[in-house]
Amino acid sequence: MFEALTLQLGYNAVLVTLGSTALGVAAGAVGAFLYLRKRALVSDAISHATLPGLALAFLVMVGFGGDGRFLPGLMLGSALSAWAGLYAVSWITRKTRLPEDAAIGAVLSVFFGFGIVLLTVIQTMQSGRQAGLEGFLLGSTAGMLRSDALVIAAGGAIVLGATILLRRPMLMTAFDEGYAQVQGLNTARIDMALMVLVLAVTVVGLKIVGLILIVAMLIIPAVAARFWTENASRVAQLAALFGGMSGYIGAALSATAPDLPTGPIIVLVSFTLFALSLLLAPSRGVLASALRHRQLQHEVHLRQGLLALAHGQPVYESLTQRMLRSRGLMRADGVPTDKGRNAAAQALLDENRWQALRRIETLSSLAVRDDGLTRIGDVLTPDQVKLLDARLSPQGAA
């Protein structure tokens, strides 16, 4: 394993590992832009739509007497049919009342179905020279030709380079389409460029991870990255990092044993990163937000309980009662303790100050900060609080 991770395997394996790392970085970054544009599953349509083109390219190359497995030819064919699929998705969405998700589903299933028809044609056509096109469904790096490995490494590098070049306009479009247009960007063309990059990632990745799983390389790193930051360009950088890590670790691991297929390993590494992000990310992560929700609920109940005590109203809810009792603010029979009386008076004073604040011209803009839990002392200076109290004292509670 150490050998694998430090690239001390065969020349081909090193090329494939470098290629899938570059591909992972590019796919992560491109996928981030796709995700930020809320079009993640368009990549699913694109990848499935490569199959008929792959098969047709094979048929054409054999028809001209060549080797049907010539990788660049297959890549060209798959790119053309993926483009047709993409066009079909946008045509259906524009020209009919059907929503985009239905268009994506229709295109991916129909193109894929037609691709399978063509695959069965190829299988029966020449039993002697098995095309091995099924390898493109799930990817296969076993027995890969050196030229293929070179094509993949170069392809990964080119896509990565193009993504880096286009990152600024894509970022602006994803962040705020209207603003980008005002800045003179042709957002339609940038979206088109984004689709071309998605397509390129797909085509380059076909041989390694296969057309069913290439979607994962585009989507998962982006979704994982989104948990860690609210900043769009950080999302893209992190997604590229996650994608690169998955590509590198996945390809290197799978080179160590014959029964570790590259595509699934890459996807599972990527999913692990996602699962960790989902759970552990500091602000958007599940754990953090569950804790925050609980905290908020407790604060709300405590505060409302105190206000009820201050108003002499009964406390109905059992959580509120628990909160008050456990903090020694209320006795078991519902009567407030001295400490509870003080805290309640304090809470009421805070309430009244907030009410008074709304009626003071110079301070009323701060009323948006009043969410029931924020203490007025956190918003106002002591002098301003004094000003409020001056208003409060003559007529008492507002």
Binding site: K38, L98, P99, D101, T120
Partner: protein, 301 residues
């Protein structure tokens, strides 16, 4: 000719029709709820489901595999919902994460386990084996009235018929809540309907249809039938009731025309062998959608 058709072509055509209708029916609701791709997700996770079932039981047998697939579909649906809600991830991306990861897990398990001696592979889960579902006991059309011969029908036929019956029965029984909560969720809740449960019910119904169908016809038809017939039907009418009717017609047409084209089409153009029926049925459903998208009366809003 009669014998050959009844024994070799009739059962696959009927099974194809039943499967197409069982998937298209819940597909109508998925379409209107903007959840069409959940069918895509479900059909991808069938593979890990059957692999796990095989690893546990050690045999290739239909019932455990269907349980495995159903369990995987449920796990996927729950995971998608959890990621969507807890992680505030948009539904499409949540689906993409879950089904690709589960599919990858399935492929890896398949490679790791020793399945060399048994017929369990990815292609099978994708294309199914519609062509092999033949009726050896048939001697001709008269066999349709012969109880002994009928008992020799492929079990997939009964299973698919049962699945369709269950899906259709549930749709009929819960028609009003289904329609109401799909159209106006807020109002549905205000009259006391459990909209979350109804939404889950639709997905479970879809999973049931998908699981019953995949073994006979393969995942690819399942995805196509969830989406294409309902989508084409939506363009034909502005009434939900008629939309369901049209979707059933389109599902049957896809199955019949697709099967015939796959089985006899190559012969007509002089080729010897047939092509994948599953693939051809999906292709025909796409052609029907294309035709409705160009000419149907209500193709635009």
């Amino acid at each position: 000719m009669g014998y050959e058709f009844v024994a070799l072509s009739l059962p696959p055509i009927v099974i194809g029709m039943l499967a197409a209708m069982a998937c298209a029916l819940p597909g109508n609701f998925l379409l209107l709820r903007r959840q069409s791709l959940i069918g895509d997700a479900i059909s991808h996770v069938v593979l890990p489901g059957i692999v796990v079932a095989f690893l546990i039981t050690g045999v290739i047998s239909t019932i455990p595999m269907m349980f495995g697939a159903a369990a995987a579909a449920l796990v996927a649906v729950v995971l998608i919902e959890a990621i969507r809600r807890l992680g505030k991830v948009e539904p499409g991306a949540a689906m993409g994460v879950v089904f690709t990861a589960m599919f990858a897990g399935g492929v890896l398990l398949l490679e790791q386990s020793d399945t060399s001696g048994v017929h369990l592979d990815v292609e099978h889960a994708l294309y199914g084996n519609l062509e092999s579902l033949i009726w050896l006991d048939a001697v001709g059309w008269s066999s349709l009235a012969d109880p002994a011969a009928l008992s020799g029908l492929p079990p997939e036929l009964l299973r698919m018929a049962l699945a369709l019956l269950v899906v259709a029965g549930l749709t009929w029984l819960f028609w009003r809540p289904l329609k109401l909560s799909t159209f106006d969720e807020g109002f549905a809740r205000s009259v006391g309907l459990p909209t979350g449960l109804i939404g889950l019910g639709i997905v479970v119904m879809a999973a049931l249809a998908a699981v019953a169908a995949f073994d006979a016809v393969g995942s690819i038809i399942v995805i196509a039938m969830f989406i294409c017939p309902p989508a084409a039907a939506r363009l034909m009418t502005n009434r939900l009731e008629s939309q369901i009717g049209w979707s059933m017609v389109f599902a049957c047409l896809s199955a019949i025309i697709g099967y015939v084209l796959a089985g006899y089409g190559p012969m007509w153009i002089g080729a010897a062998a047939s092509v994948s029926a599953a693939g051809m049925i999906a292709t025909v459903s796409g052609l029907i959608l294309a035709i409705t998208a160009l000419f149907a009366p209500h193709r635009r809003a």
